[in-house]
Symmetry: C2
Subunit: 336 residues, 2 copies
């Protein structure tokens, strides 16, 4: 059995897994907090240790196993051809030759792609978008990442910047977004934006169990606390989830009119809100988008929570390698 090591570098967690080349399953998967404040050298040193542990466990468990390469998913913008990350606001990395650093550190050929691209590619390969020709991914976490599959392949655009679905304005005079634009989907429906809307409601005096769950300190209210309170029937939390559905629904309606996809996969913790989120979200899309496009499109939660990015990084390795966008370790040959 041949394996690709999938590395998913997020603002919160590093996840590394051994993915079977045919996508039929995962071997060892390890995760640890990113701790980006320690700087890129420290993060990459820890990432190397985790990846080597995954590789050693994979090879020791199955003597006939082989590792053929490493696919890396990282926040962008980045360049899949040179393997350089230009800028990651959440990690504070600038012009980092991430692909070469990891290829050299691990001794395997490596590829680099955008983390949100990897999430939808993983869902397309082995998850909720399996079999679709045209699929979109919307990954909600610290920010909102997007990924686009057209005609059965990841769409990268002219300079690997395509798919920034979270940075489309739904309100041209709306909330300032971290990206500099106004009214971006991310500014309303990312994890921190969801928490912020809950805090705003509580601060104008609406009673909510969320305040207790946060130990009386609104600064400690998170999106996770919102979902839990909504599950428990808290009215303020339910209102925040309904508003989240309205913002996401408006954005996804735009994407449905633009792409006419077969499926939109929503990934991230927000999906734990379940039908309380998805039912009004689908209604909002149906209210706003063209009926034939709505009829053609499923809107579903990701099926690979926690590992979509690892699957996708491995799938991206296979596709980018075939496109010649690969970095070889400095010693020239992959290790045996």
């Amino acid at each position: 059995m041949r394996y690709v090591i999938g590395i998913d570098i997020g603002g919160t967690n590093l996840v590394v897994g051994a993915v079977r080349e045919d996508g039929s399953g995962l071997g060892t998967v390890l995760s640890q907090p990113t701790r980006s404040e320690e700087g890129p050298d420290s993060v990459l040193a820890r990432l190397t240790i985790i990846a080597n542990t995954v590789i050693e466990e994979t090879l020791s468990k199955q003597p006939e196993a082989e590792v053929i390469g490493v696919g890396i998913g990282a926040p962008g913008p980045l360049d899949t051809s040179s393997g350089v990350v230009f800028l990651t606001p959440n990690l504070a990395w600038v012009d980092l030759p991430l692909r070469q650093r990891m290829a050299d550190a691990l001794g395997y050929p490596a590829t680099l792609d955008n983390d949100a691209n990897c999430a939808i590619l993983g869902e397309w390969w082995q998850g909720a978008a399996r079999g679709a020709q045209h699929a979109l991914g919307v990954t909600i976490g610290t920010g909102i990442g997007g990924g686009v599959i057209t005609n059965g392949a990841l769409y990268h655009g002219a300079s690997d910047c395509a798919g920034e679905l979270g940075h489309t304005s739904l309100d041209l005079q709306g909330r300032k977004c971290k990206c500099g634009n106004y009214g971006c989907l991310e500014a309303y429906a990312s994890g921190p934006a969801i928490a912020l809307r809950a805090v705003e409601a509580i601060e104008v005096g609406e009673p909510s169990v969320m305040l207790e769950h946060a130990g009386g300190d609104t600064a400690r209210i998170t999106a996770e606390i919102v979902y839990q309170a909504a599950q428990a029937g808290d009215n303020v939390a339910l209102e925040v989830v309904r508003d989240t559905a309205r913002y996401l629904g408006t954005g996804i309606a735009n994407f449905v009119n633009i792409f006419n996809p077969e499926v939109v996969v929503v990934c991230g913790g927000v999906t734990r809100a379940g039908e309380r989120l998805f039912a009004p979200l689908r209604q909002e899309v149906a209210r706003r988008a063209f009926k034939p496009a709505v009829a053609a499109c499923r809107i579903v939660a990701g099926e690979l929570p926690g590992t979509a990015g690892v699957y996708g990084a491995a799938a991206s390795f296979l596709q980018l390698r075939d496109a010649g966008k690969i970095g070889i370790p400095a010693q020239g040959m992959p290790r045996a």
Copy 2:
């Protein structure tokens, strides 16, 4: 020389032209008002007369000329596989087997595609987007049509509905759009929407030469009058053009973040406003979209005013024919 007859069916005009198969030029081009209020039978009867005139002139001028087929661009939604137009709000056509009707009437194989798709395909084949792998078209007229070229081919989506760039909301609680959504780009920046914003400014008492140009009747103010008044330095008209740039710039910034295209081609009468429109439009895009995506993207006026749709309908014929999406005349064989 082999020709494809390109037919561009618009809400205002019918345009038919003979396009050289290699795209190197146009033969006869004829145009007449659509007069959709007469109903589809009348429109198609007149369209048949125009197309036959174009075909006869083409064949009579060059005895060695040959017509190989007919490409039709029409407002949608429609189905390129069956050649049926489902619904055209501006023409009031419902479930019309347009491709077969025209193939039978003209005696040539025919194809059907969306009119805005044809506009960008024409600009990509022989106009402002020549040579691009990834290009977007935004066609501003009675409505705002969109078209998407990815990886060097027209992108149709799951059910031929893709590319509705005009129906993306820029203001989730904004102006009601004819499509049922709120705050669509079309509701702010189509020809009628541009005229409406001028009327609104005049009706609150702002002095403008536009009122004179419209014979004192605000109901007769058109987008064309706005562009002319802006050229003449009228302050209200200039403000309307600046606002148009802001709306278009917000929408195009969204598309740039989503598609990372090499070029966005703006087509339609609005381009006659020239740099008074394009300079602030490009500034708005640069202010809102990601810098690497902005750096990769030109934003330009179409180079084929009046004939982009004809060129594109012919190009679409060649592509859809090769994809097997073609209608053959009832008598079975194309006429000699």
